[in-house]
Symmetry: C2
Amino acid sequence: MTQHGAIVDKLVIVGVGLIGGSFALALKAASAVREIVGIGRTQSNLDDALRLGVVDRALTLESAWTHELSDADVVLFATPVGELDRLFAVSAAHFGPRTIVSDAGSTKQDVIAAARKHLRAALSRFVPAHPIAGTEHTGAGAAFATLFRDRNVVLTPTAHTDARATQRMRELWEAAGATVRELDAAQHDRIFAAVSHLPHVLAFTLVEELAQRPDAPTFFGYAASGFRDFTRIAASSPEMWRDIALANRDALLAEITAYRAHLDAMARLVEMRDASGLLAAFARASKARREWSAAREGGVPADGPREP
Amino acid sequence: MTQHGAIVDKLVIVGVGLIGGSFALALKAASAVREIVGIGRTQSNLDDALRLGVVDRALTLESAWTHELSDADVVLFATPVGELDRLFAVSAAHFGPRTIVSDAGSTKQDVIAAARKHLRAALSRFVPAHPIAGTEHTGAGAAFATLFRDRNVVLTPTAHTDARATQRMRELWEAAGATVRELDAAQHDRIFAAVSHLPHVLAFTLVEELAQRPDAPTFFGYAASGFRDFTRIAASSPEMWRDIALANRDALLAEITAYRAHLDAMARLVEMRDASGLLAAFARASKARREWSAAREGGVPADGPREP
């Protein structure tokens, strides 16, 4: 039972990093939750979380922690997606009869598959979620209450998901400042394969290809601001992106195939010295990118650089 | 003969846009030049340049302008590379016997070829140059005196270039605040094909591929900050990049071929579910990108985002 207009009484967050910690801080700032218990791998990160008021109590995954799940209103798993299968397996028997379970993974079909495999009675109260937010920092110390403000959070409930559970997660994310949208899980995975996972693979590939050249320092020495922006995501966590690439393998491979065909066509235009074809292709891209930027930033001028 | 410690008396800038205009303002701020004459396509841009004190006098390319070249110490062509062939052809007969000629193009072998074709007596005083700087804005109104501060300017003199001409251009660019480096033209074109031209083609290709899908708005609607940075250069000028892609065709095609082979290898790792291979590849890229960033920003922490 909630007090003082809180949306839920007890929230358990497994994985008190940037995402889980920021969710906690945002809900505390909104007085949307009465008590937050953090579960994590390392005591030092949990100590940070306690010291910074991110969570009220904390337990490591090495300790006896699953008893915290039985009276939890909501349990959010905010760990790398590669860990969810194991965590679902050890948690499943301990959820209370009304506990809502959710996650924060960047891929959704694989997480739903893991939930189907393990969650049993709690499966209908599992709400798959993907908050589209982040910074380059990690850990509870990097968390902040406004991380999700005006950011999209995508929920991908299945036909079997309890509508009240979905509604409760929507309320929590909205209390955290996010814009909540719903997608079919397969559509989610296709969309993010195209607009996030593929760009990461392309950027990793570019940097890795340059780095393995014997004269790599010469190339890197002349790289400027266009390179900086294009490759910024290539500095991302290798572990996280390995997990995402494998979890969303089929959609990612389909995107790579489509991209390669398009790159081949672009290369042919260069090879054939097709000036008008190149101009048309670059102009379509430039126009689309400027329109995207203008729509996203609410009319602020497009931000394409004239980098030579 | 120069006055008051100026490096040159008379500078003519053909193409008074962001680059040419900023070069003028930087040299004025450094008192490195006595008089600057701007030559340009449109009267309205030249009016801006005059009003803002970018140039002292201005003439359009439609008027009789080549007589300004005969007593110029330095003539800088800061137009798109695609226009240089024509401009060299009409200018060649008018340079004075000591006039130094230079350019600001993003590719160098093609500019040198155009110079060889047209410049005749002035060829030994032609100093090919590429300032690595820019913003998303264009025109004389966008010019500012500090654009080149701490930016690289690459000079690619040939075996036949007068060393004094090269030295004079070095002095001017250094007076403008730039760090001047020298490269062989072919090496320049290979390096920038890899670290600039290829990333532009890859970004144009990604956005164009998405934009031509029937459900493009759905994809663009979920694109976030990783996409924003990766595709920022896809908003660049289509005309400029068509010229660059064609001017540096061979080196660009070689880079696309190398990149494709690497992308194929990355796709195979995904296809084979090779977790350790993917982790190793992503880790090499992430490490190289973080080191590049740290070296570039002088010890500032790496800026790789943890974007989900």
